[in-house]
């Protein structure tokens, strides 16, 4: 091999070996680097998975509340142990008050979704909910149906190949266009 070729080929070969080691020993970092630097289809797919996880989280949440705390869907609930405890703490509080809270997610509008590091993500969404309280014993309405809209920031983590919600906080997000009264 000529000297000139050697000076080009060897550094590139070294770079190739580095990337190979990265892909084998640090898979998450490697794919995260690819995602962030190239964007494209894979990034869109990851973000779509994050959004689906948040939607699933909220759907199963409404089931827990509407059933008064029946944990039938607990295994499918994409949430950390701490969040699960928090949900059932709230359900217990409602039960002690003799109430059931029936939630209904009318709309979920993503604002930003970011894959922040290998295996973690943050998403800000605007959620519009209808809710009403019922008597826990006989299911008679205790309040009129009401609507509310608020921003939420979710923190997610990849665990065993799937996204789970590990935390959330209310977020000050501008309400997306229109809707008043009861949200369909």
């Amino acid at each position: 091999m000529s000297a000139k070729l050697k000076f080009i080929a060897i550094p590139f070969a070294s770079l190739g070996i580095f990337l190979l080691l990265l892909g084998v020993l640090d898979r998450e970092s490697f794919f995260h680097a690819l995602l962030r630097l190239t964007g494209g289809k894979r990034l869109v797919q990851e973000k779509a998975e994050v959004l689906k996880t948040i939607k699933d989280y909220n759907l199963i949440l409404t089931d827990f509340y509407a059933s008064g705390g029946v944990p039938a869907m607990l295994n499918r609930f994409p949430a950390s142990k701490m969040l699960r405890h928090a949900v059932f703490r709230d359900l217990g509080y409602l039960k002690n008050s003799g109430k059931i809270l029936v939630y209904d997610l009318a709309e979920l509008t993503p604002v930003t979704i970011e894959i922040t590091s290998p295996g973690t993500a943050e998403a800000v969404v605007f959620e519009e909910w209808n809710y009403m309280y019922q008597n826990a014993e006989n299911r008679k309405p205790l309040s009129l149906p009401k609507g509310m809209g608020h921003g939420f920031k979710y923190r997610l983590k990849r665990q065993k190949g799937k996204w789970i919600v590990i935390g959330w906080d209310p977020a000050d997000v501008k309400e997306p266009e229109k809707k008043d009264g009861f949200y369909f």
Binding site: I10, Y93, S117, M148, A171
Partner: protein, 308 residues
């Protein structure tokens, strides 16, 4: 048969080897930190980076030995300098430590609030308690460090087992009370505000599922006191935002069969702990590399003179 000792300088291409190892490290670091926004500590904490970094020592040691054998002074300086710089990198990666401790009056050390530590460092517990914050202008903080009393001023350094510590901030934690509608106390606590980002700064009281988010009041009051006369309170119970307005000191706010209010609380301090060792290897390494480069320029200059 006579065996000739291998001359290290006979090993070809060690400089190319060095460049080939350094290139991917540099590219990865720049793209991870500036392209992906990863913290530098995370960027270097990948196995591929650590393997290539460790391999960098090989060509540098070869160069060091070769320059000793050939007695080329300037190359020896540069190689020794590079070796020290690489070693400093390892020391920083493995042994760096900095942490933050949040302590209220009469509160002992229970752990670090935030830590940035190298892989070979164990968190060093500090037997410290904040006894009192006085009104003195100078040494106003009275602490107990391993049972011994010390009076300290703000930012005055003190040490414990190789850690350099200092009190960097003093704040006041408002005292929050949550009662039932009948006036029975559910819980009371001094809340250290500002330990995390405001949007995630919430606390819970007793067994209530409600989250209480506290932040600066929307409309700032005129009175100056350690605890503001009004704060912004957001009460959230799962998806429902129960309350989202300013509240005034000592004025109860009623919500869902309970009430919450706050009063002046107790002082607390932020203590910064660092294990700091003067990076002698870094300074010496840079000096040697610089000296080697200068020496090489002089030699090249003399050669030019001789040739002309």
């Amino acid at each position: 048969m006579k065996v000739r000792p291998l001359k290290i300088s006979a090993i070809p291409g060690h400089r190319l080897f060095f460049a080939s190892l350094a290139l991917p490290l540099l590219l990865w670091y720049v793209s991870a930190v500036y392209g992906m926004g990863l913290p530098p500590a995370e960027a270097v904490d990948v196995a591929a980076f650590r393997i290539f970094y460790a391999l960098l020592f090989v060509p540098v040691i070869i160069e060091l030995v070769a320059s000793l054998q050939r007695k080329t002074f300037h190359r020896l300086l540069v190689a020794a300098g590079l070796l020290l710089l690489l070693a400093q990198g390892v020391l920083h990666y493995g042994f760096r430590f900095s942490g933050t401790i949040a302590l209220g009056e009469n509160e002992p050390f229970e752990g670090y609030h935030k830590v940035d530590a190298g892989v070979w460092v164990r968190n060093t517990p500090v037997p410290i308690a904040l006894a009192k914050v006085t009104d003195d202008a100078g040494k106003k903080f009275i602490i107990y460090l391993n049972g011994r009393q010390k009076k300290l001023a703000l930012n005055e350094p003190f040490s414990w087992q190789g850690l350099r510590l200092r009190i960097t901030e003093q704040r006041t934690a408002p005292l929050f009370f949550v009662d039932t509608a009948k006036g029975e106390q559910v819980d009371a606590a001094n809340i250290k505000l500002g330990l995390v980002a405001a949007e995630r700064d919430f606390f819970q009281m007793g067994l209530l599922p409600h989250r209480f988010y506290i932040g600066p009041a929307t409309e700032k009051g005129t009175a100056e006191s350690p605890v503001p006369d009004s704060l912004h309170l957001k009460i959230v119970r799962d998806k429902l935002v129960i309350f989202d307005e300013d509240i005034s000191k000592k004025v109860p706010l009623f919500f869902e069969g309970h009430s919450i209010k706050y009063e002046d609380g107790t002082p607390w301090v932020v203590i910064r702990a660092e294990r700091f060792r003067t990076p002698y290897a870094l300074y010496l390494g840079l000096l040697l590399v610089f000296a080697g480069a200068l020496s090489r320029r002089r030699i090249a200059g003399r050669k030019d003179e001789t040739a002309s």
